[in-house]
């Protein structure tokens, strides 16, 4: 089928304003949007710039705005978005070039929630025991691939770049509800701060944006509840 692919272009240090490039090309309905971007890059315009690696939705490199929604270009098929496709960079972070944004502020937020297990005492010789039910408690939030789709879809984040954002909260949740972790207080205190979890207005954009189908709003709600219980 023939599609019309429009891409928002910008190069930091060169362009004053973003502009649109438009490409016409033949694709299969079952091709990924990433395949279309590749076809343009490889056979029409080598300057078209985007990140990608695994091409099947696990590395998190190619989140972008596709027809107004944050998606992974490798996880959305042409037939699901139609023959007029508009692609833009994720919102809220500086664009380096075309679809490539500066991720450093995003990862600083992630690091701020201590995204690693803290467990008191010497570990045992074998594994720490954890029941299947305890393991299930945080299963959903282990799926996060840090693709940035959720945080950059959040209307609270756009005007408040200091907001820690859904991705960081998801990763805090992953440890807060891990029965092996003993560093609840520090993490909760960080999320209780002014730029923390209370900024969330349960708009659910993050849930729609997540390519891993994590129920992010529920995870945020559980963190809020943990804070309330801790206070009480």
């Amino acid at each position: 089928m023939h599609i019309r692919l429009r891409v928002k272009r910008f190069e930091a240090g060169k362009d004053r304003e973003p502009y649109w490039s438009e490409y016409g090309l033949e694709v299969e309905a079952t091709d990924r949007v990433l395949d279309a971007l590749h076809r343009v890059k490889w056979h029409q315009d080598g300057t078209l710039t985007f990140r990608r690696s695994c091409a099947h939705g696990v590395c998190g490199s190619d989140a972008m705005l596709i027809n107004g929604r944050n998606r992974l270009a490798c996880k959305v098929l042409i037939r699901d978005v139609g023959d007029h496709i508009a692609v833009e960079p994720l919102r809220g972070y500086p664009v380096i070039r075309d679809l490539v944004v500066d991720q450093s502020a995003f990862f600083r937020k992630y690091e701020s929630v201590q995204p690693y297990l803290v467990a008191d005492g010497e570990p045992p010789a074998r594994e720490r025991r954890q029941s299947p039910a305890e393991r299930e408690r945080f299963d959903d939030t282990t799926k996060c691939i840090l693709c940035m789709a959720c945080t950059t879809s959040c209307p609270v984040f756009w005007p408040n770049p200091e907001y820690v954002g859904p991705a960081a909260i998801v990763n805090a949740h992953r440890f807060l509800f891990d029965s092996r972790d003993t560093e609840k207080e520090g993490r909760l205190a960080r999320l209780n701060a002014g730029d923390g979890v209370w900024r969330c207005r349960t708009i659910f954009n993050c849930v729609e944006a997540c390519p891993r189908e994590i129920n992010i709003t529920r995870a945020i709600g559980e963190v809020k509840k943990a804070l309330l219980l801790q206070k009480g």
Partner: protein, 582 residues
């Protein structure tokens, strides 16, 4: 553009499992981790089914059994002293990961859950054993996340989106690397006492592959260009179950949970080929069997695929234990694996060969295991060799962690005992000029301008046809000529993007050069080895020939560009080579 200089005691190239494990073993030292991606994008994260370790959580198991299976799986080409380390240290490594927080799936009593995997058996081949420790079907994702998280905790220093293009060797010692910062095109020289390459594989030399676009053999090619030989390049594994045409991996864990392979007549064809292990025979064997079925007209509807049938497992098992592959199959094929079988074909998956190392990750440069001081390699880009002619499922994750850590430990010793080697005054400048020519379109000798994409597509298609699962001297010789032609045309590549800012057009040109290197080594080594062993199957020499070929190949790039070979013996300790039956 002036070069930017850095000095770090240790430079690690690649931030997947092997690189991160080494960085963690070196915590407290002055270490820089360079990756052409962001670390969490590394391909370790795509591993699905599990990490093998004889924990014995589900049933009796011993590291000796794991060792035997690995040796037999390798078609007796693995070095058994190294395999012993792999199998022994797997157990403590899995425990360390658990202590670092890795969310393994659990048994009812709260232990790490384990499942069956191809070629893993009890009592030296008797029947399948549950040895693969898993976190649903995203074990690699959890390993990558856990190691990266520990890196944050221990303040590892990362240089993200830096692409390494040259290894610096000064008077017989490793002195550092040259890298491009992708964001701004700046060339950097990293002066180091020790360099570890942990750059992964090169499945992208084939058309249908499970490998990420980033897996273009950079580290292997860069080492080779610096004069280091590369080992056992003829052995490249095709995983039996890639999604038809796309090559996306469907974990062997699906068969570990009971999934079956069916041909166009609805037959469970592995009954004919591997009556004891059936669908859990090793990958080299199953991939060949699938191709035999296809050749003999027993594909599904006569097409180039067979079915992986999970429908009898039930929704609960599929959703709990195989959620990610269910998602892939739904997304890309519109199929629900609970209700319908999955169309699969073999997909280029794993390089058994690579940069030769000893058991501490130290790179060795000849058949007598002479060390190149300060240069280390670990993970898929390295060849210890623990996988020999065919790797067993789950052993790549063991390999990256066990040997990544050992490399890190030996580097700590090495940098403590040695000063910085001298750096040549003009280090990196020739590379800078070469890159500038390429970027500015001043490349070539005046011939017709060539496109990177056209050359790469030709390479991938031809390698698939002529140098994949079934090989003959005729096809390999044709491929060799084709590679010569592609190499000539590569000299005239002209890219479109002239910018210094995030120039992925330039990156792809460099990556194509790396792919051509590893493909040339693969084809030359395959042509030289006139026997069949593991993943290397020669139709004109269908038998294994221990008399002449129980040895590792070392490919050298001669000054005239020709490839020459040396061979080194296989280390055999516990298990004498035997016929390999499943």
């Amino acid at each position: 553009m002036a070069l930017v200089y850095h000095q770090h005691e240790v430079v690690i190239v690649g931030a997947g499992g092997a690189g991160l494990m080494a960085a963690l073993a070196l915590r407290g030292r002055d270490v820089a981790v360079l990756s052409k991606l962001h670390p969490v994008r590394s391909h370790t994260g795509a591993a699905q089914g599990g990490i093998g370790a004889a924990l014995g959580n589900m049933e009796e198991d011993h590291w000796e059994w794991h060792m035997f299976d690995t040796v037999k799986g390798s078609d007796y080409l693995a070095d058994q002293d190294a395999v012993e380390i792999l199998a022994r240290e797997a157990v403590e490594t899995v425990m360390d990961l658990e202590h670092w927080g890795l969310p393994f799936s659990r048994t009812p009593e709260g232990k790490i859950a384990q499942r069956k995997f191809g070629g893993h058996t009890k009592e030296y081949g008797k029947e399948a054993v549950r040895r693969s420790c898993y976190a649903a079907d995203r074990t690699g994702h959890m390993i990558l996340q856990t190691c990266y998280q520990q890196g944050i905790r221990h303040q590892v220093k990362y240089y993200n989106e830096y692409m390494v293009v040259e290894l610096l060797v000064e008077s017989g010692r490793t002195a550092g690397v040259v890298a491009v910062s992708i964001a701004d095109g700046q060339l950097h020289v990293f002066h180091a006492k020790a360099v570890l390459f942990a750059t992964g594989g090169f499945g992208r030399m084939y058309e249908v592959t499970s490998n990420a676009h980033a897996l273009t053999g950079d580290g292997v090619a860069v080492a080779w260009q610096a004069g280091v030989p590369i080992e056992d390049m003829e052995f490249f594994q095709f995983h039996p179950t890639g999604i038809y045409r796309l090559g996306i991996l469907i974990t062997e864990g699906a068969r570990g949970e009971g999934g079956k392979l069916l041909n166009g007549k609805g037959e469970r064809f592995m009954e004919r080929y591997a009556p004891s292990m059936l669908d859990l025979a090793p990958r080299d064997i199953i991939s060949r069997c699938i191709y035999r079925e296809l050749r003999e007209g027993r594909g599904i509807h006569g097409q180039g695929y067979v079915h992986l049938d999970l429908t009898h497992l039930g929704a609960k098992v599929i959703h709990e234990k195989l959620p990610d592959i269910t998602d892939f199959v739904r997304t890309y094929l519109g199929i629900d694996p609970v209700k319908e079988p999955i169309p699969v074909q073999p997909t280029a998956h794993y390089a058994m060969g690579g940069i030769p190392t000893d058991m501490w990750g130290r790179v060795v440069v000849d058949e007598k295991n002479k060390i190149l001081p300060g240069f280390y390699a670990a993970g898929e880009c390295a060849c210890v060799s623990v996988h020999g002619a065919n790797r067993l499922g789950t052993n790549s994750l063991v390999d990256i962690l066990v040997f990544g850590r050992r490399a890190g430990r030996d580097i700590a010793r090495y940098v403590g005992e040695n000063e910085y080697p001298p750096l040549a005054p003009h280090a990196g400048e020739a590379t800078g000029e070469r890159l500038a020519r390429l970027r500015e379109g001043r490349n070539g000798s005046g011939g017709r301008a060539e496109s990177v994409a056209d050359l790469r597509e030709t390479l991938q298609r031809e390698m698939m046809e002529k140098a994949s699962v079934f090989r003959t001297s005729g096809l390999l010789a044709q491929m060799s000529e084709k590679l010569f032609e592609l190499r000539q045309r590569f000299q005239n590549v002209v890219i479109q993007d002239r910018s210094t800012v995030f120039n992925t057009d330039l990156m792809e040109a460099l990556e194509l050069g790396f792919l051509l290197d590893v493909a040339e080594a693969t084809v030359a080594a395959a042509l030289a080895r006139s026997e069949s062993r593991g993943a290397h199957f020669r139709e004109d020499f269908p038998q294994r020939d221990d008399q002449n070929w129980l040895k590792h190949s070392l490919a050298y790039r001669g000054a005239d560009g020709k490839i020459e070979f040396k061979y080194k013996p296989v280390t055999i300790t516990r298990f004498e080579p035997k016929e390999r039956k499943y």
